[in-house]
Symmetry: C3
Subunit: 472 residues, 3 copies
């Protein structure tokens, strides 16, 4: 069938220049959405495409210019075969093993769920046809991107496979189609590539759950101490405060706690290492998982801090605030007494705002350095400088901001409605503890042992010696 | 001539260690700005450089250390030739074909305009000297970057060419010069690489034109209903409102409309697919172009929303606002009546601000995920989740924000000056329509057919069958 | 010793499928922190690992599964050797030269300081064992990342070496370990790679020093003219103004000056080129260094502008401001005269705010385009359009913003306390000069000569001819 195309190609070169060699024939198994889109794009990029089909004459509309062949003929005539079929239908391939021997097999398949099968589709395929060079790839792209070329989240083609030559061949095709190729190593990483298109922010789930839990708790806590207390005790309906005032209490409280949660696991790890006298023991699982989601915790906390900033800045244009201020000025003007500017209050409130602004600015810097392209450009020392030194500076600024907000109210009994402290006092517990512990860890004697342990030194504990060989 | 350099190189190795092999000789045709800069950098990176020149003794100042040869001698002695001359002067190369046979020819040329010639410079070159391995590359860098090494927009060297070995050789040089190499495939993409340095935000033009058009229209619309109406009807000059108040009406109106324009084409496409019963028919051209500039539309709308936020936040420090509020308080204090806080108004205005803040925050999130490094790190499913789900959430928040702004004024005749609705009412038409249509498309029965169509199912329409083979 | 592992591997394949070839044996010299972490990760990725040790039976706990051998045996049996030891201990390797001949030697070492040794560790190593293929790599990763795989600033492995095959072999291992590989060229760039993990924002130092110097100067300048003047002359204590009011004077002043410092060197360079009549002469060193830190200057200035925006937006919620406004309204209400809105003031203040907002918005756009992933996506022409055209627009907006702030106060003697101008007037000198010079450079006649010079044209000055050959 390939002979039919030859004359056309030759007729495209009327300039007397030797004709380009006939383009490579690629074969696609699978005439579904993915197979069609891929075929269309391959044809547009100058390849010849043959579809392998059980019933070559009844497989529906295919891209114009594509040939249709029997499975055997397609496998025979093409050097590279794309598999765009579901894993359940791989069975028929076994009978094609002789034809596929030595060919490059690109497994484009995806599963509907994670962990449906004990091994990756591509590994199963390699096991079925040991003589073929299986390459996993193109499966992370949407059918739309396969048809129309790279767009935002569809720029990169991840490849893996055991044969470097096979990967090279697939890489050339992907490059010609306009994609950037990332080689992910051998076929054993196929599972990872197959899970990739199924994932929906897996590393954000735990932090988001923490956020929702904390927000719900503090919302009801603040609602009780504010709106419900006013209703029950004073009989006033101030439920309109929910939309802005209460939100502007919940956001900063949760933000500060979550910022602290970024630094707490580091403190716990340091204490564990000091206590154990070695860094060569695994941390408990919960600590490992906690440490791995610090970045997400921090970014959500930054988002809440941003909301807090906006909610604070619109305060003076709120109807309620303008009404209150107007009333206050009118009643003051009727009192007819002169009031003095209270310099202490001026110092306190201005410091309070200043700390908040500086804390937010440093926090934003942390957020910017965690953008992939920025953190890639940093050396490891620079990144840890920013995330650790500037991180603690942020925590310090934000904690001080909250203390200055409370100020003398910590000692006023009227703050403690129904004998419970207001929300912001609760939010101060954890940051204060973390900051004190961090200061203790920075004491010269403690810091010295910790540094030694982190450089690989181990406390030679006679009873520990037996455990050393358990290191994994 | 290459023998002249040898003794120097050897004398650099006085330590008794075997001398490094003599560095490769590279040849540059063209002694203009680009040629000189490239030569300087190559010399600094340890290469030997020879300039090919028609008149070897009168070609002006060249980088120190570079040799000057006749065209023939240069082509003869170097394995790799950089072409830093204009396409119009390629003619002389034909006579060098024997010497250039089998050599790597790097075409660094650029044109002054797009579409000046029917084929790319590099393809023309390959046609002139079929025996050489032409590689297009380095043309996207500025002369400054060629001389001083990578800087911001000059980090990446794009290459294309038909010979993998030739590309490999050029890649090694580019890497040694400090650049990152991106292989863009075969020589047929040369045209793309040659157009790249000429482009000036081509995909932003249409969205910017839409922005300017909408802004101009709404500016005059708002100017008429506000400043001119006040002048004509009340005889008051409130033209000072142009700088902030009017700007702060135009920006949010245009922003909301442009945000809607990001989602409207998706709705139209879905309706088209439902109507046609297949996804395998091309959309009309205007719809395709519209869909391709959705990202730019959205980012400009985000910029306008950002301006709206800033313009809103400075309201309370404006002289005009302070004056008005002062007057209001003074006249209220003279009335001597007590006014009650209107809880409904408090609820409404606070909700209005809350919706605006939340809408802006989610919108910012959309903007951040469209940064190249962030969207590259997302799976396709994650990206479309953010852009579609969170996008509609943004649209919903912003539309609700505008409805709450209007509130009861929709029914007050005084809002309709000169029998025209105020600008924000106009801006609500499109978002309301899009949200309603989206809700209709989410109805189970509609959603089911749409999903089937998008998975490749086609409505078997007897009259359609004849058209199927036309699929391109 | 490698025979011990074989039976285990075979027993892992009970399915009748031919066993995978035995994994490659890699050797690690050095049982310190880095060596252990690397070994652990290699073992987890399926490699066999042997540690070379002088005293194979007393080298402390090693990862489970790793073999321990004598130095000779390890060098003999492995094809690839990782060197995780300090440069001072390289001496013993000389005696292993026969065994290491033809092997790939990966130098993972780092130094404690820059410039400790005259040549890079890897180059020294290559000189010690000329027969081995030395590859520098993995040294930019932290031990934590080596053990746990890629994380934020630890995604990329930089490699350099003289043998392409050796680099290919190391690249495969790095890819299998999950890292992205960046080939930095030949071994002569090893020094750069060894300096990378030691650097701590080297290019930010000068700009940060400028920031601190300018901020300190203007802080004391403003403190004198504001707080100290009020204390000495009026006897009032307004020191509470330090936290917000004074900060909000220092930040914008320093920001505007630093923004100007981004554009001043370009102007100086243009004048130098015009004066010299050529672009082929080196700029003085200070100008080169200045031009290379423009991006950092600009980003710090943007940060200060951001602080200025936040400090400005919280003005209306400050206690001091509310108090003052309340007093003003009360005293106005007692005067019992009607005041008119001053339209000129309304125009001026609104324009002042508008210019500030627009300037900040364009500035932010500049900041976004300087993110690595965004600037990589721009063509050189687009990048210079944004940084030059939009940059001058920013400077213009911000300068106008400051002039509108001053307005008539430039002529009021009361502005000049102790006969010195207020800070913002000082900050206007440099931007005004830069804008005027830029306008002069844009005059058609000047612009034409400059363009010609930048395209490589040189003024043929008889006395210059002798200097031309000095071009380096």
């Amino acid at each position: 069938m390939s002979r039919e195309v030859k004359p056309e190609i030759v007729s495209l070169c009327p300039l007397g220049i030797p004709a380009a060699p006939e383009p490579e024939l690629l074969c696609i198994y699978g005439t579904g959405d993915l197979g069609r889109s891929l075929g269309l794009r391959l044809l547009q990029s100058g390849y010849r495409v043959a579809y392998g089909s059980r019933r070559p004459h009844s497989c529906g509309p295919l891209p114009q210019g594509a040939q249709v062949m029997s499975h055997e003929a397609a496998a025979q005539s093409a050097g590279l075969v794309f598999l765009c079929i579901h894993r359940e239908h791989y069975g028929f391939l076994e009978s094609l093993a002789p034809q596929l021997n030595g060919k490059v097999l690109v497994d484009v398949s995806n599963n509907l769920k994670k962990n449906l099968y004990p091994e990756a589709n591509a590994e199963y395929l390699q096991r079925l046809i040991p003589g073929a060079h299986v390459v996993k790839g193109f499966n992370t792209l949407s059918a739309w991107a396969l048809q129309n070329g790279p767009s935002d989240a569809n720029r990169q083609v991840y490849l893996c496979g055991n044969s470097a030559e096979a990967k090279q061949a697939v890489e050339e095709i992907a490059t010609k189609l306009g994609f950037t190729v990332l080689d992910r190593g051998s076929l054993s990483t196929a599972r990872e590539l197959e899970d990739f298109p199924l994932q929906l922010f897996p590393e954000w789930r735990l932090p988001l759950r923490v956020t929702v839990g904390l927000s719900a708790f503090f919302f009801f806590y603040v609602l009780t101490g504010d709106v419900i207390y006013a209703k029950v005790v004073n009989g006033k309906d101030i439920s309109f405060r929910i939309m802005v005032s209460l939100a502007n209490k919940v956001f900063p409280i949760v933000s500060l706690i979550m910022l602290t949660l970024c630094y707490l696991p580091g403190i716990i790890a340091a204490i564990l290492q000091l206590y154990r006298g070695t860094k060569y023991k695994r941390f408990p699982d919960w600590l490992d998982r906690w440490m791995l989601c610090r970045k997400q915790l921090g970014l959500i906390a930054l988002g809440l801090a941003f909301l807090h900033v906006l909610y604070t800045l619109i305060i003076p244009i709120r109807y309620y605030v303008r009404f209150k201020i107007g009333e206050a000025i009118i009643s003051r003007s009727k009192e007819n007494t002169t009031r003095e500017l209270d310099t202490t209050t001026a110092w306190r409130t201005d410091s309070y705002y200043s700390m908040g602004i500086l804390g937010f600015a440093v926090y934003l810097l942390l957020g910017i350095t965690s953008l992939p392209s920025v953190s890639n450009a940093l050396s490891w020392r620079e990144f840890s400088f920013v995330q650790s030194k500037l991180g603690y500076l942020t925590l310090f600024f934000c904690t001080l901001h909250t203390y200055l907000y409370g100020w003398s109210r910590f000692l006023q009994p009227s703050s403690y409605k129904w004998f419970t402290p207001p929300g912001y006092m609760l939010s101060l517990v954890l940051p204060s503890v973390v900051l004190v512990l961090k200061l203790l860890l920075l004491l010269p004697c403690v810091d010295r042992s910790l540094t030694r342990i982190r450089q690989g030194w181990e406390r030679s504990d006679p009873e520990n010696d037996s455990k050393k060989s358990l290191l994994t």
